[in-house]
Symmetry: C2
DNA sequence: CTGAAAGCGCTTACAG
DNA sequence: CTGAAAGCGCTTACAG
């Protein structure tokens, strides 16, 4: 037996397909008695609407999209984010990986033109990112994830990286550190720029070395800093993998952690907790962040005006990798 | 300007919509000259087919699906797997998380009835899994990921866990270990059963404690083993998180690793490499595994008969957590 | 309040 | 080889 369509329901309840559609979607235009009859027939038949057909007639696609342009950021972050999004979403997530931002933009155009998605999440915002303008132009409902500040008329969900950075610096200065350095993530990413700015404001004399989240670049950056003329007594890394690489380089150079060098990682993880010494880290609930983003997009889809939602600020968890500066 | 449809192409090339469709899809039924004209008009107009409309008319949906029934297995594994799948896939991945297997099955029925997907990946196979029979009944193209052996008439991609387990046991026995235990993953999962069987075959007297991949259960299992009447001199864990928890419990109980206890983790990870001592682990390229699964599904979609494809066997990487048994 | 029709953008028999 | 039509399963004006 084929699965039932509105035609079957129309037949068995003695009304037109149009009436069935109105009844099923809770729209005015049919009497209460008709509506009830249609609904009960639909239930009896085990009717499930076809989102494909709906999408073609211009209604809901019953899916939202997330496209990732390589290289993607920190693996674990995205997985938890997507997990959190999914858990909160009553629809499917259309996921696609593309090579660059141009392909990403092209995909948004297609998806929207075809009604394949009802909205999208924008991740990994760049400095001067073209995507916000595109979704605005298209009228494609969207939520920017992780971008502080306003993004045209697009909703966003963000965390206060500046405040988090300040809390890290305060922690270190209270331990007597004066020469603090930062090993940053990809310079093209907006949040790197924001963290850079916050770091510079808090540590005017601080050195920033740019890297790319990999352990090899994290190690190289650490070596560069520790072998410099004025080696730092504390380094703040933009992710856990680079921080762990930093611990390795320090050991290699005979620099003890935390006696001679304090280390802080931006995102907390099992890795931070389980290595020796355990790393002081900025901790946040990425899965909850994803759930918040999902709710924000659902709100936009429901017609709410786009707002910027602030997530909880990452919290500094002090562990054994930070200690009093021995050089001040 | 609206995006062009086959109607626009038909108009400008002076043929019917049907002919345009045939020409565009490379089907017989139109002359070469007509086909060329249609193709060039389509190119000039920047035509992109609507996969929504295609799906509704019963053709390709231009998407494949992956549904995850909670609780999902090891996080990192799935992320790498999905990353590997995506990289190989020329279409979108429809991803949805559901509460249980019944919902998962229901989703397959809907997706297939609506032509929302062209095929699906089946992951986390259970002992007596109902899903294989469902996709067979539906005729929904599918690939079983990670399930050794035949699964009805459904294609599969798998790795030889039994051989991998044997290599672990051989490594340990060659180091003089006789009392070897296993801390296993969820008993309901098929690959747990397979590893159990391989372990029992290799270590007839070996104890298996069942756990669930979490650090807390991994720690509890380790405690149970080490405080027992005949504590093992080596433990093989079903994932990295439990193995690391085991290291912690050993330290807590004053059992030194590897002098008094050797530890092996099933899946290698940064965590295994970076903790102290670094863990001996079974390593594999999960991303490549995902790519292989993607190719297998594409082959099935292209009409190939379903086959079982063996992935490379996980390789044992010996590190400092395993050593000669001091008690034999 | 309700029905009959047109349309979304394709594909696929069915005639010529 | 080609065209005109019907149909996929919905939604949405448009008449009554």
């Amino acid at each position: 037996m084929k699965r039932p369509t509105i035609k079957d329901i129309a037949l068995r309840s003695g009304v037109s397909k149009g009436a069935v559609s109105l009844a099923l979607n809770g729209r005015p235009g049919v009497s209460d008695s008709t509506r009830e009859r249609v609904l009960s027939v639909a239930a009896a038949l085990g009717y499930r609407p076809s989102s494909t057909a709906r999408a073609l007639s211009g209604a809901r696609a019953d899916a939202v999209g997330l496209v990732l342009a390589r290289p993607l950021g920190a693996e674990a972050f995205f997985f938890r984010l997507i997990g959190g999004i999914q858990a909160e979403l009553p629809m499917a997530l259309l996921l696609q990986v593309v090579g660059d931002l141009d392909e990403e933009v092209e995909l948004y155009r297609r998806w929207w033109a075809e009604h394949r998605v009802d909205g999208v999440f924008l991740v990994d915002l760049r400095v001067d990112d073209p995507r916000v303008a595109v979704v605005e132009e298209l009228g494609l409902p969207a939520v920017v994830i992780g971008g502080a500040g306003h993004h045209g008329n697009v909703a966003s969900v963000w965390a206060d990286d500046a405040k988090a950075m300040t809390s890290v610096v305060e922690h270190l200065t209270s331990l007597g550190h004066r020469r603090i350095a930062r090993v940053a993530g990809l310079p093209s990413l907006l949040h790197t720029a924001r963290r850079d700015a916050a770091f510079r404001a808090a540590v005017p004399s601080g050195v920033i070395v740019s890297a790319d989240y990999t352990d090899s670049r994290g190690a190289a950056a650490t070596r560069e800093l520790l072998l410099g003329a004025e080696p730092p007594t504390a380094i703040v890394y933009d992710n856990d993998v680079m921080a762990v690489a930093g611990v390795g380089v320090a050991a290699e150079l005979g620099v003890t952690v935390p006696a001679e060098l304090s280390i802080v990682a931006w995102d907390d993880s099992p890795l931070c907790r389980l290595i020796h010494p355990p790393l002081t880290a900025l901790s946040r609930d990425t899965s909850a962040f994803g759930a918040r983003a999902a709710r924000a997009l659902l709100a936009v889809l429901a017609g709410a005006s786009p707002i910027d939602t602030e997530d909880t600020t990452p919290v500094l968890v002090a562990r054994a990798s930070t200690g009093h500066s021995s050089r001040s």
